[in-house]
Symmetry: C2
Subunit: 332 residues, 2 copies
């Protein structure tokens, strides 16, 4: 076990050429059964594990996909990692993770691309974030296939997995406006997996339909503690009929902040969160939330990307997944 055993060792021991060994480990069908058996026996006996690096060099393919995301999006990416991990495992791809700061130092994107290119990842999965466009531009130069999660995107060597949040928000808003409820607050944070611009335009279009204009947007911290404090203050002097938050953590902060000010939820004020995370289950009252199939988005991203890599048939390189509104106690 001391010296790494190579394909040469196997070849010598099995009395065949290394080409034959290579054929065996790559499942070529031309090898005679007897030879194959002999080679396999030797591989087993010597505990030979083909060096993926050497193979990568020879084939100019690494069967590696790079996943890139800003730290702040981690909470969302987290649930996706299950889907990404499982799928890439069954598809025999290795995944490398690259996190970026949120600070957005000037050369951050450059550094990232440098690393991606050097590592010769076959493809990359990106998440909707404020530097997305820049990232795509840079990476595309090197013809590396990209799949973006969280925003609509399609093109050459470029696909995406997304969900129609705009529609979701539009529907919710229309439903309230229909009932005469029009004091809606939209709460967002700096970084979000799903485009908050889309969501806002969803609300706006709904308002427009009822000949009203919408402009109640509040930005809060992605740190629960901070946004909770913010809402504790905020609800001393404010109250709305409905609050829509871009994620459950904010939603819970709203519930707790409002409750501290004796605002009764959902009677006086309704709250809706997003992503249907564990957070939504913990609050009192529990939080109504838009469920986004995060795990699936991860799985689909890997699936789509590998299809692109292997030139498989692709129905659409711009995949939409369905959301569902999960009703809980924070809405009527």
């Amino acid at each position: 076990m001391d010296k790494k055993v190579t394909i040469y060792d196997v070849a010598r021991e099995a009395n065949v050429s290394l080409a034959t060994v290579s054929r065996v480990i790559n499942g070529s069908s031309v090898v005679k059964q007897a030879t194959k058996a002999r080679v396999l026996e030797v591989i087993e006996r010597l505990d030979f594990k083909p060096n993926e690096i050497a193979r990568g060099l020879a084939k100019s393919k690494t069967t590696t996909i790079a996943v890139v995301f800003p730290q702040s999006l981690f909470a969302h990416v987290k649930d996706m990692i299950g889907g990404i991990g499982d799928t890439s495992r069954t598809l025999k791809y290795t995944v490398t993770f690259h996190t970026t700061d949120d600070i957005g130092e000037d050369n951050m994107v450059n550094e990232l691309v440098e690393k991606l290119v050097k590592s010769r990842a076959d493809g990359v999965i990106l998440f909707n974030n404020e530097f997305l466009e820049e990232e795509i531009n840079q990476i595309s130069k090197y013809k590396i296939p990209i799949v973006v999660v969280g925003d609509y995107m399609a093109g050459d060597n470029l696909g995406s997995i997304h969900t129609n949040v705009k529609q979701a928000i539009y529907d919710i808003t229309c439903e309230r406006l229909e009932k005469g409820i029009d004091d809606i607050l939209f709460v967002t944070t700096h970084q979000n997996l799903l485009s908050d611009e889309e969501m806002i335009s969803g609300i706006q279009e709904a308002y427009a339909k009822y000949n009203k204009t919408f402009d109640q947007i509040l930005e809060s911290s992605s740190e629960y503690e901070e946004s909770y404090k913010q809402f504790q203050e905020y609800f001393k002097t404010h109250k709305h009929q409905l609050v829509i938050a871009t994620n459950d953590k904010e939603g819970v902060a709203v519930i707790n902040g409002a409750t501290d000010n004796q605002i009764s939820i959902p009677d006086e004020m309704e709250v809706i969160g997003m992503f249907n995370t564990t957070y939504a289950l913990m609050s009192k009252p529990t939080l109504t939330s838009i469920n986004i199939p995060i795990y699936n988005m991860g799985a689909l991203a890997v699936r789509l990307l590998t299809k692109m890599l292997n030139n498989e048939e692709i129905e659409s390189n711009d995949v939409e997944v369905k959301y569902i509104l999960i009703q809980r106690q924070s809405t009527k």
Copy 2:
């Protein structure tokens, strides 16, 4: 940009041998300034990015570290990823992620090791889990350095980052026993980042010190929804003076389950969670929790591993990090 530019292209363009180019990109000091400048200019102009795969093959080093964890531990690993990502980024290491099932199929560990060995990762970071021993045994055979997070471990090519939870639990328990509080319930889940055996022995030793025996242990689901239901039932017929949970999610489930049964916290029952996560801030009352510096543990794991890889001086390959009890409303 179409054909990948290689070191040959640079060499030709700069009128030097590829050895010289190699020296330049590896920062060798022997190259004449003028030559170096010329080469760098060409590198820039051609946008040459050295192929890490080829380099890996030539040097038999990949500057890659593999991080392996079971899906169920993700919630904990999540916060560590920041530390792992940041540190490996500054140290110029690439990290690959490998998740394992919790099902623990027979050959799961074998498959994992197969992948690790083939990928020629320089080192691996493992997390405390039920298959840890098996994983270590298998991986060690290939002389791949390992750092374990979450449990004490030391040896040849083996280090660890851990925290003395046993002491933490021991202290907490003693403090109560001193006051005559001896009805303590310990709540654990199937998989945990920190060894619950350690924690339990911490309680037991405290009890022993007071000539009592401890045996109130409850296993609950790692799914909040399930454990919440479990505690809603449980506290219909039970009550304790103190509940210690192996993580905040369980702690919140306890608080909510008990509160539903009109058990007043902390007056009638105290609750302590672990890891000091956002969950602990959301509950009402907020949850007292043992803060474990998760980010640092990730950073330290990478640091220790890279030291092992580069034969740097190591004070101890068994690093202990400090915990702190964060007092909140769920304890008196």
